[in-house]
């Protein structure tokens, strides 16, 4: 409401009519703003819920693949398709490691126009790197490897929890998620200055994925960390994880930009990610970490874990058992060992200890089915391992050994400890705050917890802290306080969901430990949009994505509608439509309110003709008429998962997979989804895509061919959450010199 303003004599000349007009306009405008606000909120909700369900899907997929690993016979073909992503780095000698990543024989050609690095790295070179990337240069793989090796050396000696202080009135600058958006990092450096002795920085995780310049951001952050080891700090985020990277674009980005050495770079990064510190404490009072806490988070425990054992936070570290093959970081060598046996395994097919589905019933059930079986298998495994160990022991030692208890008990103690540690790390990287008191599993994302204000209060008291700064969630203003201002969420990737969707922010913290926020928004894409325009645009983008989702759930939706349509007239009331849609989609959106945007086919009496509606939503692909309808639907619904599996299967990262592997991939998917997909249907698909009939399928072409373009928004370039990767990557030109 306005403050009192002294009116000049002029005002008394305003007619009553003008005043009434002003009042009317004010009323109208406030109404308009409120409507926009509501639209903004549900747009946001659409993007966020789809984003989180994508993360959940990735975890589901990973669990599923893990299940397959545990159940397939070691010799099976299918296991080979996916086993390499589980072959995480064992601890090994430095010499071996450095040999594998030797960059010395990589030559930098004359025509290379990017930056050259000479070690030891200097400030000028770090700054030069920023400039080079600003000018769209790419760093040569030789220098990348050198830089990464140096980074790894530095990270190894850091503790799990950095402890820093704002002494001598130095302010520390804290940044949240960047997600490969180089523009935002450049904007921050522009506004705030680059890292230096007087300008310490702390980056709070999620440097990679989704944006198109993830590797450049990493290289910049690493070089500054090398040059200013006491003034640049990095915390690990949940996206510093090779399993997550498979789906969200970082893996693809590296392999596209570095065709020849990308695989090695990724392998080295796996190691580096696992060595990133988990959290930072400033002046013993402010805790900075990526996700959050749970009611069991204990900084003491966290400071003692061997963090590098958690290459991916999604899987607990393997229990060490005595095995006959030598563990090796050289996956190429392992592949040779497998390869030799491949000839004898061609006949192997999917075998399960028990059939997963009965022949008649193909409907989606929850993943609970897996977990029952998993427990059984794991127990058997452990017994098997103990037996083997027993016999090895007995044959190697003269001392008589009792069967069972001593070894069993150490085993169980170790595994409990491991689980406890794993949970601590998972919570730290994946949790989100909620407004309710208490603590519960974060089922929307699939990992970590939701924690409440009481948990924050308790945690801060226990550890004698006063503030938690975390990231992990996109916020419209770039930051948001919660839990009585004891928790601050900080997000530094502006325009994250779409142009104009949100600002980014960074925090400055001085010795008084009062956070001071600075906001910004990268605007190179378009000129400054008005409130109206930016909401409208983001909304259109979100609705496009939502329509894709709705179309992809067509069969389930029709089933749900039929339940309300007893006379089978093809019509449902508006209320029933909304209820049915929510029961299938589980997105918690105000469907009734959005009906006008989603259903445009006119109905006179407030009913919806749902068959017409699907025609309206219909997606037109290239020549898809001969392809089975339900297969097509599966494809749209699980596009991202399918693409992820392709990338896993494409072991040499060529971007091509053979027909045989393509077939195997679909079989994997069919098991995962518990759907029957005939060989014939798969062949039809393959034929559609392999236009030159040379026996191999271009993954990108395949995914591109089935990219959704509905009639309404073919011209829209909104970022589809399904893609998970920046569409511009397909336009990147291959530079053979790099």
């Amino acid at each position: 409401m306005g403050c009192g303003v002294t009116k000049s004599s002029q005002f008394h000349k305003h007619s009553g009519k003008a005043i009434r007009a002003a009042v009317l306009i004010q009323r109208w405008y406030r109404q308009y703003v409120a409507r926009m606000e509501l639209r903004r909120r549900y747009t946001w909700h659409i993007f966020q819920s789809i984003e989180y369900s994508g993360e959940q899907a990735q975890i589901k997929l990973y669990n599923f693949l893990g299940y397959l690993m545990d159940n397939f016979t070691p010799a099976s073909n299918e296991r080979n398709l996916i086993s390499h992503i589980f072959r995480e780095n064992e601890v090994c000698r430095d010499a071996e490691w450095e040999r594998y990543f030797c960059y010395k024989n990589i030559e930098v050609p004359e025509i290379y126009s990017g930056p050259h690095l000479i070690f030891p790295l200097t400030v000028e070179q770090a700054v030069g790197l920023v400039e080079a990337f600003r000018n769209k240069k790419q760093l040569h793989s030789r220098y990348v490897l050198q830089l990464l090796l140096e980074t790894w050396r530095r990270l190894r000696v850091l503790p799990n929890i950095n402890r820093i202080s704002t002494c001598h009135s130095k302010e520390i600058t804290i940044c949240g998620d960047l997600h490969g958006q180089l523009e935002d990092l450049l904007l921050i450096f522009y506004k705030n200055g680059m890292p230096s002795l007087e300008k310490p920085y702390l980056f709070n995780g999620d440097f990679v994925d989704r944006g198109k310049d993830s590797i450049e951001i990493l290289l910049i952050l690493f070089s500054f960390m090398i040059v200013y080891p006491s003034d640049v700090y990095l915390n690990r985020g949940n996206h510093e994880d090779h399993i997550v990277n498979l789906r969200y674009g970082f893996t693809k980005e590296v392999l596209t930009k570095y065709k020849l050495h990308g695989k090695r770079i990724l392998k080295l990064l796996q190691k580096i990610f696992s060595w990133l510190p988990l959290a930072t404490v400033i002046d013993q009072k402010v805790l900075v970490l990526h996700g959050g806490i749970s009611d069991t988070t204990d900084l003491g425990v966290l400071s003692r874990v061997d963090r590098h054992n958690y290459v991916s936070a999604l899987r607990p570290p393997k229990k060490k058992h005595i095995s006959s093959t030598r563990t090796s970081i050289d996956s190429d060598m392992d592949e040779d060992v497998w390869g030799a046996n491949k000839l004898f395994q061609r006949r192997a097919s999917f075998t399960f200890p028990r059939p997963l589905v009965t022949r008649g019933g193909f409907h989606n059930r929850s993943l609970q089915d897996f977990s029952d079986r998993i427990r059984v298998v794991v127990v058997e495994d452990e017994l098997e391992v103990r037996r083997r160990r027993q016999s090895a022991f007995i044959s190697g030692n003269s001392r008589p050994e009792n069967e069972g208890t001593p070894i069993a008990s150490t085993d169980s103690v170790n595994s409990d400890n491991t689980r406890e540690e794993w949970k601590q790390i998972l919570d730290l990287l994946w949790s989100d705050p909620m407004t309710l008191d208490g603590c519960m599993p974060n089922e929307v994302r699939g990992g970590g917890c939701y924690w409440g204000p009481d948990v924050t209060e308790d945690f801060l008291n226990r550890h004698n802290l006063q503030l938690i700064i975390r990231s992990h969630e996109c916020k419209q203003e770039g930051y948001e306080f919660c839990h009585n201002r004891k928790v601050l969420t900080l997000f530094s990737a502006s325009n994250y969901y779409d142009v104009g969707s949100n600002r980014g922010a960074y925090v400055k913290l001085g010795p008084d430990l009062v956070p001071y926020m600075i906001q910004y928004q990268a605007t190179s894409m378009t000129r400054e949009l008005t409130v109206r325009q930016s909401v409208g645009r983001t909304e259109r983008s979100a609705l496009k994505v939502l329509r894709e989702q709705l179309f992809a759930h067509r069969s389930d939706l029709i089933c749900a509608f039929k339940k309300f349509d007893s006379t089978n007239a093809g019509l449902v009331s508006l209320n029933d439509w909304a209820a049915a849609v929510e029961s299938v989609m589980h997105l918690g959106l105000p469907w009734r309110m959005m009906r006008g945007q989603l259903v445009t086919c006119k109905t006179s009496d407030g009913t919806v003709d749902y068959h017409d509606w699907f025609n309206e939503l219909a997606i037109k692909g290239p020549n898809t008429d001969h392809i089975d309808q339900s297969l097509l639907e599966t494809l749209y619904r699980h596009r991202s998962t399918l693409e992820t599996i392709f990338r896993i299967v494409d072991t040499d990262n060529s971007g091509f997979i053979s027909h045989e592997d393509f077939r195997q991939t679909w079989k994997l998917l069919s098991v995962y989804l518990k759907m029957e997909i005939t060989d014939e249907a798969i062949s039809d698909l393959a034929v559609t895509i392999d236009s030159n009939q040379d026996g191999s399928i271009d993954i990108d072409e395949f995914m591109e061919a089935f990219r959704l373009t509905d009639k309404k928004s073919r011209l829209e370039r909104g970022r589809s959450m399904f893609m998970g990767t920046a569409p511009d990557l397909t336009k990147l030109e291959e530079d053979p010199s790099i």
């Binding site: 007009a21 009042v23 109208w28 109404q31 509501l38 299940y67 998993i374 309710l436 699939g446």
Partner: protein, 157 residues
């Protein structure tokens, strides 16, 4: 409590736990702003005074809390009685014309600002800035005829 025994991570699609919107639960809101948003989005056009009167009726003793049991019947009544009817395009146009003293078919930002911030139920500086960003074109003029036709709601379909 949050203890995970299984090795696998749980997956179930639910939305984030929030205070459930059920009868009998207190919904913590910043009364003026949030209730206003709700009422506006239901197609009503109350003035600020109307809003404050409404909130005073449904609020729990100036605590800033609004009980759903009170809100629902009051809101239903407002809708049934068409208490805060929408402003028609014609009326809005007339209002703008009344402010356009020189009859030039557009308003300068200064003109509009003067009225919006000093008459009736004045805008805050923030509201004013936002309005100018939304309504002014590249010539920094508010061509109200265009604005009005783009921004009025059509009667509900």
């Amino acid at each position: 409590m949050c203890t995970r025994r299984s090795e696998r991570l749980s997956t179930r699609s639910t939305t984030r736990p929030t205070a459930p919107w059920t009868s009998g639960e207190l919904v913590r809101r910043q009364a003026a702003q949030e209730i206003g948003t709700i009422i506006y989005s239901l197609g009503c056009f109350p003035s600020q005074k109307d809003l404050h009167d409404f909130i005073a009726k449904v609020e729990e003793d100036h605590t800033g809390y609004i009980h759903l049991d009170k809100f629902l019947p009051a809101m239903t009544k407002v809708l049934q009685e068409h208490k805060f009817p929408p402003i028609s395009e014609d009326l809005l146009l007339q209002a703008f014309e009344a402010l356009d003293k020189e009859k030039k078919d557009y308003l300068d930002p200064e003109e509009l600002t003067k009225y919006m911030t000093q008459e009736g139920e004045p805008f805050t500086q923030e509201e004013m800035e936002e309005m100018l960003t939304a309504l002014a074109d590249h010539r920094n003029q508010i061509h109200y005829k265009d604005v009005v036709s783009q921004m009025t709601i059509k009667p509900d379909k």
